[in-house]
Amino acid sequence: MKVKAKYMKKSLSLELLFLAMCLGCVPGALANSVTGGQTLSANLGPQAKLIVVQPSVPLLHAGATFANFTGGVTVQYKVRTTASGSSTLLVKAASDFSPANGPSIVNLDLTYTCGGATLGSACSGSQTVSTTSQTNVVTVGGGVCTGSGCTGSDPNSVSISLTLVDSPTFKTGTYTTSLMFSISAI
């Protein structure tokens, strides 16, 4: 009986010791985690994109006979420029009006004005559309962006008012051309 009690006491001690060791190891087990830092960096360069809201624009005239034809286009754009950079939105006619014997871009019949640019400066005064060179619509300065926390709207927009001469020399018929808008940023 004494031996049995002694054995049981010893066993209990061992169990308690074992338990104590386990409890002592728990903090150590929790502390046994590896942490480390990783530096992430993204180099955001200048960027610019646009969309022409109207895929097609009819030029119409009302009122006085031989009054000019007019129409409107809206271009939306998103821009990010470097601190010392800039962005320009330009327009160019892909080709002259087709078929021939009607209005002609080469003859300076098509002009436009710009207005309502929500970011940057819209072109000033009447501009003549060209088939050989791009002409200005909007100029944006450096250090700008588009989106939350940025100046302007998201997306930004500008309105282009088109004017086409109505000359008696044009033959009757329907004539078409295509305007290409492009944007770049530095």
């Binding site: 610019a48 994109k49 646009l50 969309i51 022409v52 109207q54 895929p55 097609s56 624009v57 009819p58 030029l59 119409l60 006979t65 031989f66 034809f69 129409g71 286009v73 271009v75 939306q76 754009y77 998103k78 892909a94 009006f97 009607g102 209005p103 098509l110 997306p155 088109l162 086409l164 109505d166 000359s167 008696p168 020399t169 044009f170 033959k171 009757t172 018929g173 329907t174 004539y175 078409t176 051309t177 295509s178 305007l179 290409m180 808008f181 492009s182 944007i183 770049s184």
Partner: protein
């Protein structure tokens, strides 16, 4: 087991489609974009009378007829192949005042206000002399298909002749001639 696998596939499909949709929305913005301009050029015509007041005068002599010229500028575009055009004139207000000349009721048989026409191409002038009327328009010029004037317009004129009837009482008499142009 099959039910859970189908649900997982459906979830992944929804996520994939949402991602593609987001990519396509941003893809509409690009470095450039185009729009097509179209214009329909139709038949049109306009006229401007450049002589504000046409004075009919007579050379001193024995009842020489009164004459005067009205000048105008016209712009016209008629339809290719099938179009036509015309310039006409009508006396919309007769000479006023009793005892003087009259287009509608001349005091003497043979009294008349007549005119001849001169017009630049593409117009064809009237065959004169034409007797002006208060009751209907009379021709000044005509145009055929695909008739197109210069951008600034082309010139024309009407030369008037008014009988100098001795029965007319002395005085100043005024009438109004209205010109119209049309094109198809």
């Amino acid at each position: 087991m099959n039910h859970s696998r189908s649900g997982w596939r459906l979830t992944m499909a929804v996520i994939l489609m949402a991602g593609l949709g987001a990519v396509s929305a941003f893809g509409q913005f690009a470095a450039s974009g185009t729009t097509t301009l179209s214009v329909t050029v139709a038949a049109e015509a306009s006229i401007s009378i450049t002589t504000t007041t046409t004075t009919l005068s007579s050379t001193p002599g024995l009842f020489v007829d009164y004459t005067g010229t009205t000048a105008f500028t016209y712009k016209i575009r008629t339809t290719q192949s099938t179009g036509t055009g015309a310039v006409n004139v009508k006396i919309t207000s007769d000479f006023a005042g009793a005892g003087g000349p009259s287009v509608a009721t001349p005091p003497s048989a043979g009294d008349a206000l007549t005119y001849s026409c001169t017009v630049a191409a593409p117009a064809t002038a009237c065959t004169g002399p034409v007797t002006a009327l208060t009751t209907a328009t009379t021709s000044v010029a005509s145009f055929g298909a695909d008739a197109r004037s210069a951008k600034a317009g082309n010139s024309g004129s009407v030369s008037w002749t008014l009988t100098n009837d001795p029965v007319y009482k002395t005085g100043t008499y005024t009438a109004t001639a209205t010109f119209t142009i049309s094109a198809t």
